[in-house]
Amino acid sequence: MKDVELKVVERAKALLASGEVARVVGWKKGDFCFDPSPAVFESVEELDGLVYNWFCGANLSKYLIEISKKEGKTAVFLKPCDTYSFNQLIKEHRINREKVYAIAVECLGKLDVEKIKAKGVSMIEDVEVVEKEVKVATAYGTETLHKPEVLLTKCETCQKTHQVKDEEIILHERPARDVDRFAEVAKLEAMTEDERFAFWKEQLSKCIRCNACRNVCPACSCVKCVFDNPASGISAKANDAEFEEQLFHIIRAFHVAGRCTDCGECSRVCPQNIPLHLLNRKFIKDIDGFYGEYQAGEEAEGKTPLTSFTEGDVEPNDAVDGEAK
């Protein structure tokens, strides 16, 4: 990963120094190695703070909506999953493609510091990954963890590849793998209605309505949002008989149905660890089942499942769990 980071910083500096781009969007070093945050770099000196390590999980594509309105070109580093969001935003005419220089950067999965800490590892100083072993250097010595156990949830089932690029920085090939991202959704579908209701009641009752899932979502980028409208009746916590935040989450998930690329940012940022991606994946699974496989963000053009139809579509009364019953 260190070799990739060197290359990333080197390319960013070269692009900015040559004047080819006016700014670079990347990840900025935080106080520790595990808390880099998205940032805009406008000078070569600033780029000393640019990092690309095992904790750069943040999707940078949403920032380009505002940034691509500025003068000059913007260089951005996109991981495979980010390119889907990027493409989807181009499709929705939110990003001006001409003003973005997209650099596809390799990703072998990103790590979740919360999961590492949950393993009882603290005072983390540095992390290096060799194959499936995560070596965490701490103030107390080195700890070795199993990589699949400490991956971000969104990386556990990722099979994405770069969809768009102007150039690439790929030094290590990621081995192809075969995982079923709908396994957990199918498990829920197999439950009874009461069990499902109990499951979601337990999960969504944790919600503190911080709106982080909405703010981070690249698909959720309306200029005016229903959740900011006090007259909508859902701007504040609802006095629901069973649990408070159910309506918010139904609406949030429905608004991105057919446009959600399954980038998994919602679950990553949730401070309460609600598995929000299971809501979005339900829609993806249903769309695949009812209307044929569709991956949002694969193409920058064409119709989406909810803006098209066929005469023989499934009837809502019979439509359950991705098939007509």
Partner: protein, 151 residues
């Protein structure tokens, strides 16, 4: 002091029916003028097209105390606006399936195609839907507490 009612009231569901102006609302009219009966607890809301029904309307109806929500529109291919009901069909297929995934009984949501000539069918659909929802009982999973206050 107020009387405390001890006997249980028989449950009559609150049903919200969104009917499109061109087919289903006229179908309801025909049912009426043909002297066909359908339960009085069906509250019809006239919409220009079934496609006008934002999923939010369905959620709001449940939140405000509906026990069942039914959408009625023109038969596919007969939409006054040519393609409106095709979009409705996709949207509602996803919404109903999703609500079911959240643990809300599938039978509380329904979509039926009723033309302006199908007064008989309108009455049959409504009678059947009310019967189904009555068996399911009160909707407790999507209601807002404030609506039930004072009951």
């Amino acid at each position: 002091m107020q009387d405390v009612k001890t006997e249980k009231k028989e449950f009559t569901p609150n049903i919200v029916a969104f009917c499109c102006n061109w087919c289903s609302y006229a179908g309801a009219d025909l049912a009426g003028s043909s002297r066909l009966s359908y339960p009085a607890n069906v509250k019809i809301i006239r919409v220009p097209c079934s496609c006008r029904v934002n999923p939010m309307f369905v959620l709001k109806a449940f939140q405000q105390g509906a026990d069942g929500v039914i959408l009625c529109g023109c038969h596919p291919g007969d939409c006054h606006y040519v393609t409106g009901n095709y979009y409705t069909r996709r949207r509602m297929a996803l919404l109903y399936s999703f609500l079911n995934y959240m643990g809300i009984e599938k039978a509380r949501t329904r979509l039926e195609w009723v033309s302006a000539a199908e007064g008989q069918r309108f009455s049959a659909v409504m009678n059947d839907f009310v019967k189904t929802v009555t068996e399911l009982g009160e909707n407790k999973r999507l209601t807002d507490l404030r609506v039930k206050e004072g009951e």
